[in-house]
Symmetry: C2
Subunit: 344 residues, 2 copies
């Protein structure tokens, strides 16, 4: 069977990670990436052997800087089956008609509105809904994190209600013009926050309300989740369900994995590229069951990388290259070295 | 009627603020403060005209630095009716027997265990329980913040259940050896957190569970509260109840009071000493009612000053100098310039 030819439009935080993940898949071929700026990241792509393309009106800018490009976005789209749109939030929809014109299936990111695609997507919750679709939206990092644990929990009990608070990182590590530096910012101040709405694009019937604040850190988001269940469960049931779910790691604060900084240090010790943690990390210590039908826990989300495996799965879904979530998860997680269960 | 003679043991973050607040009360006299370290803060006390005392084994240290002291802790305790213990958390219990030996009533802080005093205290929830007691514990800043809004809400509907997340500041502004600098720290990682236990020292029958993380900021804590009620309320009911409660301010993020930094900037613009905000600040935008019986909101707690008015009230309670919460609130809030209602 021919490999799936994939383009990545955008080579920023998400695009560069998804591109490198595609190049590790046995059933995919990275046909090229598109960048608009002829900067050090463009040079990094070229020196990594990644075919570089640019929008047609930007080709001269690359030539002026002496950075070799293979051709235009349109040239690239002619060669591929699927494009992963990793342009900045809200920009993807501007490209939608271009992708359609070339008959290329498109994977959008969570920064786009749900209407951009036929289905909003998380591998663990609704893989089958994306099979054969022309366009799929991989939900945002925070929504992906919430969906991974919520869908894991829903395997052992029907979920009645979720109330969650998202403590967001202020900026990614390389963003030097964002804040806050010393403040806590309700974001949004008007409650409830849009994150619940985004979860409902995948799980429409879930009773969920979310709130969010931004705090001065760059490493990871943290979620605090209160979930009410229709049935009684024990703490062991919950821990066991999380342990058995791919892409979820259980961290023991008692062993020193007591903060997002400790998690990142562990990823650095593992030699992970860019210290990425595409797994959702749940603090084992935090998992508690109150009165049998209420589960609470804390989890950490690495905003730069958590959606990478779901992007890979989405490519397989639209191409019907894997018939089930289990099948794509097996390939994606093996090739990307994703772990599950307790750390270490 | 003779004024209440008060000593303050400890002149750190809380002690210096409580001491200065006492000196503004028409019915109280600040007999003196006790410090252990002969540092710039001791010199500040002397230059402010505050009678300075030290533990008897520390008197020489002060003399060596040329800082005049009036006498020992014991000398001071002989002259007073009440002592406010503002020593570091856990140290207060070591002084308990000293206070008792001198027949002096004692106000402890939330850093002590509840057993240190006859009653744990918040003016709005249980003022009458503290009347005439020998010892009272003013609960911590976070607990005080939670109790102010919870007891305000309980005036319009019986509260069935509270689930709250506390996003804690990493350090006070002057603490240079604390962190985190770049991390989110579950604190505690084991859920639920002790804050709910502390709330229950004042409201023993409330179903409350709390969680907490520490984040890199110095200004204020932020709480996100989910409360279920036994009765239906409207958003207007909730806003009105908060507006009518002393020591609660409603901040409009839409007017730019969108973060803890904005609240502090406003306090600075008001010319408030040390930019203190002893009021609990609730974000007006954040108040929402879900399905009639669930209220959610976000609030900010200025950790350095929120317990100051409650300390003043506690002094009146143990001396039976005000028969009701309303009576002491009226005096305390007028003398300290505390506000209520919407900002500005």
């Amino acid at each position: 069977m021919a490999r799936i030819r994939v383009a990545v439009n955008g080579f920023g935080t998400i695009g560069k990670r998804v591109a490198e993940a595609i190049s590790k898949q046995p059933d995919m071929e990275l046909a090229g990436v598109v960048k608009t700026k002829p900067d050090y990241v463009a040079k990094y792509a070229v020196s990594s052997g990644i075919p570089l393309y640019a929008p047609s009106d930007r080709l001269d800018a690359f030539r002026e800087k002496g950075i070799p490009v293979e051709g235009s976005l349109e040239d690239l789209l002619e060669k591929v089956d699927v494009v992963v749109d990793a342009t900045p939030g809200g920009v993807g929809k501007e490209y939608k008609h271009v992708y359609e014109r070339f008959g290329v299936k498109a994977i959008f990111q969570g920064g786009e509105k749900p209407e951009v695609a036929e289905v909003s997507f998380n591998t663990f919750c609704n893989y089958e809904e994306a099979l054969g679709k022309k366009s799929v939206r991989v939900v945002s990092c925070n929504t992906t994190g919430l969906l991974r644990s919520i869908c894991a929990l829903s395997k052992i009990a029907k979920i009645k209600k979720v109330r969650a608070t998202i403590v967001r990182r202020a900026s990614d590590p390389k963003e030097v013009k964002r804040g806050p530096v010393n403040a806590i910012v309700p974001n949004p101040a008007k409650l409830p926050s849009h994150h619940a709405v985004d979860v409902k694009t995948v799980l429409p019937s879930l009773d969920i309300a979310t709130t969010a604040v931004v705090v001065p850190t760059t490493l990871m988001h943290v979620h605090i989740v209160f979930a009410e269940l229709e049935e009684e469960v024990t703490r062991d049931d919950v821990v066991s369900a999380l342990e058995q779910t791919p892409r979820i790691l259980l961290a023991d604060a008692g062993l020193g994995l007591a903060s997002t900084a400790d998690l990142v240090e562990y990823a650095r010790d593992l030699g992970r590229k860019r210290y990425d943690i595409p797994e959702l990390v749940v603090w084992l210590d935090s998992v508690a069951v109150l009165g049998g039908r209420e589960v609470i826990w804390m989890q950490a989300v690495h905003q730069e990388s958590i959606v990478v495996p779901e992007n890979i799965d989405a490519i397989r879904a639209v191409m019907e290259a894997a018939k089930s979530a289990e099948e794509t998860i097996r390939i994606t997680d093996r090739t990307l070295g994703l772990m599950s269960g307790r750390i270490p």
